[in-house]
């Protein structure tokens, strides 16, 4: 059974994530006015917000430690927050600043925080194999850390995910695959791209337990994840979990969502996992004041991170030549991972 402390912790993560997304949305859109221009404003590039996905990140990561690895997809913020990624440096990264997690090189789809073993990336299902690799490293080193790969329901038809299920299974690795099913892959409804309404059905074909949590319910996710993470930590092998979530915003900021029925969007708003968890908290006799405190603290943290990030300096142009092996103009024999050799493009 979930403890009140854990409920509160999940709640705080979820409220932080929700407020974070809402604030990023403001900051992002503000700069793209009046006609939406993706290359304008304080936050560069694409932005995929996860409002409505919070129960998944919070419920799963509640079972994880810093030495556990998480890989996340293009919609990563709620997971990063629940995993304990440094919020200030993550925000600075999203704003493209020098003190960002990746010094401004990665942006919101490429957040890496080795302190808590978190990474995300922008190609569908791409994080699954590296999660298998983290599980393999844990097994080889005989630690009890685990790895969790998050992906969207649109990603369950991608080879990288399906191959990873088999590899984790045959090598009995401590890996949990978590599918966040928000019913949409950009504009494509789930039923258009797969006949399997319950993605967890795929697990059996790889001799792995699969379970679906059919509501935006942080506590139900928490319970299912307890079993899956526990199984991994006890060296009993991988699991697949599919979690129903909802996408409250467009696929990316600027998405006109012309393909989406109004009722679908309205339903996403009705099924609010945060309200539901609030009710659970009250059911556990947590009073209004405590809940308000948790929420205020979360909001404050978000504001602080955003303020801090916006104050940070931008990288210098020449920083672009650092942190990669660069094919040197002459026979440089340095084999360090970070080399600054090439001086420019002309």
């Amino acid at each position: 059974m979930v403890s009140v402390n854990e409920l509160q912790s999940m709640y705080e993560n979820m409220v932080t994530a929700r407020h974070y997304e809402e604030r990023l949305q403001e900051e992002y859109l503000e700069g793209k006015q009046p006609a939406f221009d993706i290359s304008a404003g304080p936050i560069p590039g694409e932005l995929h917000l996860a409002a409505g996905h919070e129960a998944s990140g919070a419920g799963v990561c509640q079972h994880l430690r810093d030495d556990d690895t998480v890989t996340a997809p293009h919609r990563p913020h709620h997971i990063a927050i629940a995993k304990g990624v440094d919020l200030k440096r993550m925000t600075a990264e999203i704003f493209g600043r020098e003190t960002g997690l990746s010094k401004g090189k990665g942006g919101h789809m490429h957040l890496f925080d080795p302190e808590v073993n978190f990474a995300c990336s922008g190609i569908i299902a791409e994080g699954c194999p590296p999660a298998v690799g983290a599980g393999l490293a844990a097994k080889k080193r005989n630690t009890d850390s685990v790895a969790v790969a998050f992906l969207g329901e649109g990603a369950i038809d991608q080879g990288a995910f399906l191959e990873s299920l088999n590899m984790a299974s045959v090598q009995n690795l401590p890996v949990v695959f978590v599918v966040e099913d928000n019913d949409w892959a950009i504009s494509m409804p789930k039923h258009r791209i797969t006949d399997v309404a319950n993605g967890a059905r795929r697990a059996d074909g790889f001799d792995m337990p699969g379970e679906r949590v059919d509501a935006d319910d942080a506590v139900a996710v928490y319970e299912a994840a307890r079993a899956a993470v526990g199984r991994a930590r006890d060296r009993n092998g991988p699991s697949l979990l599919e979690v129903q979530v909802h996408r409250r915003m467009g696929h990316f900021m600027g998405d006109p969502e012309g393909y989406r029925p109004d009722e679908d969007k309205a339903a996403a708003e009705r099924r609010d996992s945060i309200e539901r968890l609030e009710a659970d908290l009250r059911g556990h006799d947590v009073d209004d004041e405590t809940i308000d405190d948790l929420r205020d603290r979360a909001h404050e943290r978000v504001e602080e991170a955003i303020e801090w990030a916006k104050d940070q300096p931008e990288p210098e142009p020449a920083d672009a030549y650092e942190d990669v092996f660069v094919n040197p103009a002459s026979g440089v024999t340095d084999s360090e991972p970070s080399v600054a050799e090439t001086g420019g493009d002309d």
Binding site: P44, G96, R97, G106, I124, D345
Partner: protein, 350 residues
């Protein structure tokens, strides 16, 4: 300039201007009307109309059967296009961003590109693989590449890179009618998408009637006597901008738009360098082992090329992934100033 183009029929209103995406879509729609075997597959190509407007409006006319959303399974659907093409259809398969090629490359280069050869010509694969390329909007290392060199290096695929609406339409007609596989790479920044403003150049007059632009015919987009700039895609416009700016200083720049990398029109390049003696090659792909090196080598190898050549510069993305933050992305993707500087350098040399 593009002598080979079929003249538009007399009723074609050539004064009509289109964005590059409208011109592409017009060619696709025309071919789909003419030939039931043509269909389009990709992610978000139906209701959404293509993330970069590549199929905008087609669903309404042709329905879900011919404008097909597919699972996020690039290997499966690109390979399915190969199979359908071999069965005599003419599929167009879209890879949403060229950067995703790595999840489906086997089907692309080991089957689409090779089956004609491996079958001794008994099988042909008349399909088009479209993909969006390019940076300039801070989408970082996995969504901003052009990868021109990667596709042009591997034999069996024709590689098309339009820079204007006029070219985009004619090249698309040709691509769909071609009995070989064609990789058609369109630059996002040129498409004229509402949320990603295009520069002025790509929106051009486009005849309403069909017309084809043969592959392997580079287009001299600007004639000049002093320096030859060879480029493609977005960088045609940046080179033209640099050329205009240098005209004030009395440097007369010729700008060659390759339009296709495979086949490569080395003759037009060599002729121009024979005239100017000075060469600047510009692209948005990684510098090493790619397009710029090939163009330089092709000039050096041409009859008299080495003797003609007085100065050369390459302007491309230095060999780093594309960074996210603006100051860094601007640094690595060549802009008009970078091109201008290179032209000045080769002009001043000797």
């Amino acid at each position: 300039m593009a002598q080979q183009e079929r003249e538009p029929a007399s009723d074609g209103r050539t004064d009509r201007s289109l964005t590059m995406s409208r011109a592409m879509v017009e060619a696709i729609a025309h071919e789909m009307r003419e030939d039931d075997d043509v269909f389009y597959m990709g992610e978000d190509v139906a209701d959404y109309g293509g993330i970069f407007d590549s199929t905008d409006g087609l669903l309404e006319e042709f329905g879900y059967e011919r404008i097909m959303d597919v699972p996020i399974s690039e290997t499966a659907y690109i390979g399915a296009a190969v199979g359908a093409a071999q069965a005599g259809m003419r599929p167009i398969a879209e890879l949403m961003f060229v950067d995703f090629f790595g999840v489906g490359m086997d089907q692309i280069y080991n089957q689409m590109a090779k089956n004609t050869y491996m079958s001794g010509g008994s099988v042909s694969v008349p399909m088009v693989l479209t993909a969006a390329v390019g940076g300039t909007y801070n989408d970082a290392a996995q969504h901003s590449q052009t990868l021109y060199g990667t596709f042009a290096h591997l034999p069996g695929m024709k590689v098309v890179v339009p820079s204007t609406a006029y070219d985009a339409k004619g090249l698309m007609h040709n691509a769909i009618r071609d009995d070989d596989p064609v990789v058609y790479l369109f630059h996002k920044r040129l498409m004229g998408i509402g949320w990603m403003p295009a520069p002025d150049g790509p929106k051009t007059g486009v005849p309403e009637d069909e017309y084809t632009i043969p592959f392997g015919s580079a287009d001299v987009k600007r004639e000049g006597a002093d320096v030859t700039v060879v480029t493609l895609g977005l960088h045609v416009h940046r080179a033209l901008e640099a050329a205009e700016s240098l005209a004030d200083d009395g440097i007369d720049v010729e700008v060659i738009d390759l339009r296709t990398l495979v086949p490569l029109d080395t003759e037009t390049i060599a002729d121009s360098v024979a005239k100017t003696g000075r060469l600047v090659v510009v692209d948005e792909d990684y510098r090493s082992f790619g397009v710029t090196g090939e163009i330089v080598a092709s000039v050096v190898e041409a009859e008299g090329g080495l003797a003609d050549l007085e100065a050369v510069e390459r302007v491309a993305v230095p060999d780093v992934p594309i960074p996210y933050a603006r100051p860094m992305e601007n640094e690595v993707i060549p802009d008009a100033d970078d091109v201008e500087n290179a032209i000045r350098d080769v002009h001043a040399s000797e």
